[in-house]
């Protein structure tokens, strides 16, 4: 891989830090008076998801990370691994570990495309689409005529996620949900 100097660090660039692949979130050039210049850099560790704040002397460099984001359709789980297939027509499949799947496990639906992040050809994280349509499998009975009033109740979706929904929603309905916030958006 190529290496990148601090002046090439920009949001989204993938680099190696302490043995882990990271994405640059923010890079700020700092220089006191006429002193030594530094770069204050925020990086997201792509394995743990944690954001690190590190300082580099300007001109230092980091090795690039062989990281790729690919669209893949969710197929099934065998209980141990979760299987995805590339959507480019190659039918190539990748098995994803629970650790890499993280919170996305509660947003899984067959035949939906997810963004799978590969590092050295291994899946390290899975990002769901921003909006997904899922069926309500369990919630308290809906209140008739209560469409205008506020108030909400929990509903369990077919993927396992629990979201707050308006009181008028019934079991069996398909809902549109924002996976970033976990918020109910509308009936689908």
């Amino acid at each position: 891989m190529a290496s990148y100097s601090t002046n090439e660090f920009k949001g989204g660039l993938k680099v190696m830090l302490d043995g882990d692949p990271c994405a640059i979130v923010e890079n700020e050039f700092v220089k006191p008076g006429k002193g030594q210049a530094f770069n204050r850099v925020k990086l997201r560790n792509l394995i743990t998801g944690r954001v690190w704040e590190r300082t580099f002397k300007s001109g230092e460099s980091l090795e690039g990370a062989d990281v790729m984001d690919l669209d893949m359709e969710y197929l099934y789980s065998d209980g141990e691994m979760w299987h995805f297939m590339k959507t480019d027509g190659s039918f190539e499949q990748y098995a994803v570990e629970k650790k890499a799947l993280g919170d996305t496990v509660k947003w899984l639906k067959e035949q939906v495309a997810y963004t799978v992040t590969l590092w050295n050809d291994n899946a390290i994280s899975v990002t769901p689409p921003n909006f997904i349509e899922l069926e309500v499998v369990e919630t308290d009975p809906g209140l008739k005529g209560d469409t205008a009033q506020g108030g909400s109740k929990p509903a369990t979706l077919s993927s396992g996620a629990v979201v707050r929904v308006p009181l008028f929603i019934n079991q069996g309905e398909i809902l549109k949900v924002d996976t970033r916030s976990g918020d109910y958006v509308s009936r689908a």
Binding site: N7, E28, F29, G33, K34, G35, T55
Partner: protein, 333 residues
């Protein structure tokens, strides 16, 4: 690295409204100096001497002159040429000068920027601090004692005691390296003393400065004197630099010196800088022989200050980066 040109890349980085405001503020600056009978000058951007400062990267250009093909330096500040004017008897002078510092691009920096620099023969550093504060208030459109004031003044070492509970001059180097490394999340093993102090200043002190009005820092370490005189700290006789910096809202706006006028001392500092550059594996920079000749002939004692006018305009207009007050900021140049 390949930069992909986007369709909007040709557009200015500042709005046209901002550029009109900028022009108005620059007219204010000129009026401020006209009232005080400080002469506006223009000196060359390209010169035979560059800045030897270890932490400034000078750009250079090849030019054909009557002397043949030679290397000329793009100024990092108009200091050398303006000092030659002072030695020639110009009296007080100011300049709005385009300056270049390689690699300096960020929210507060731009590769090419505008420096407001002025010199006051016969004026003390304290007198110049006062004038700088007045200029800053004028551009901000605020009165002293209003939002921008009252002025608070700190000695460099007091700030380190207050924010980090250490004395920057007497703390052992190993302890400074440990503290700087810890604050920055990096290894400072083998780092020189000034690098540790610079990092601590940037991370732990600067962000707090000027939050409730203008703050001025004085008495920098003697090793950071650049082109300023040195004097002894009355506290314990440590040598300190006769220099100030002015901060507002966490931004360093100005850097002023009680100017060094001794040609031999200046030559020694240039040589020291180039030795440090060699040791650090950096290219040496041609020394400005004409400046040394001017100092040898005699430059009047006095003080001078360089102020990042783009940053001041940024604060005055409530913008969040210098790019927003420049027509075409790097890399859209």
């Amino acid at each position: 690295m390949v930069t992909i040109m986007q369709e909007t890349d040709w557009r200015p980085t500042a709005s046209l409204e901002t550029l009109r405001e900028r022009a108005r503020l620059l007219a204010d600056v000129r009026a401020f100096f006209a009232q005080r009978e400080v002469l506006e000058v223009e000196t060359p951007v390209l010169g035979h001497g560059g800045s030897t400062d270890l932490h400034l990267a000078s750009l250079s250009a090849e030019a054909t002159t009557p002397a043949g093909r030679e290397r000329l330096w793009l100024q990092t500040s108009p200091e050398f040429a303006m000092k030659r004017l002072l030695a020639a008897g110009s009296g007080p002078i100011f300049q709005l000068a385009h300056c270049f510092r390689d690699g300096e691009v960020g929210r507060r920096h731009n590769l090419e920027f505008t420096m407001l620099e002025w010199y006051r023969p016969g004026l003390s550093l304290d007198g110049l601090i006062e004038e700088t504060v007045e200029l800053v208030c004028r551009v901000l459109g605020r009165e002293l004692g209003d939002e921008a004031g009252p002025l608070r003044r700190h000695r460099y070492r007091e700030l380190f005691r207050e924010h980090l509970a250490i004395d920057p001059f007497t703390t052992p180097l190993a302890e400074l390296r440990r503290l700087a490394g810890e604050r920055g999340g990096l290894s400072m093993a083998g780092a020189p003393r000034d690098d540790c102090l610079d990092l601590l200043m940037s991370l732990a002190i600067e962000p707090h400065l000027g939050r409730e009005g203008i703050e001025v820092v004085v008495d920098y370490p003697a090793s950071q004197a650049a082109l300023a005189r040195r004097h002894r700290d009355p506290e314990d006789g440590e040598w300190v630099a006769s220099r100030f910096e002015l901060y507002l809202e966490g931004l360093e706006l100005a850097n002023g010196y009680d100017e060094l006028t001794d040609a031999a001392e200046q030559a020694a500092r240039f040589a020291e800088d180039n030795a440090a550059r060699r040791a650090a594996g950096l290219p040496e920079v041609d020394i400005d022989a004409r400046l040394l000749a001017a100092l040898a002939q005699g430059m009047p004692e006095g003080s001078g200050v360089a102020l990042g006018i783009d940053r001041l305009i940024q604060l005055s207009l409530g913008k969040s980066s210098v790019a927003e007050v420049m027509a075409f900021a790097t890399p859209r140049c």
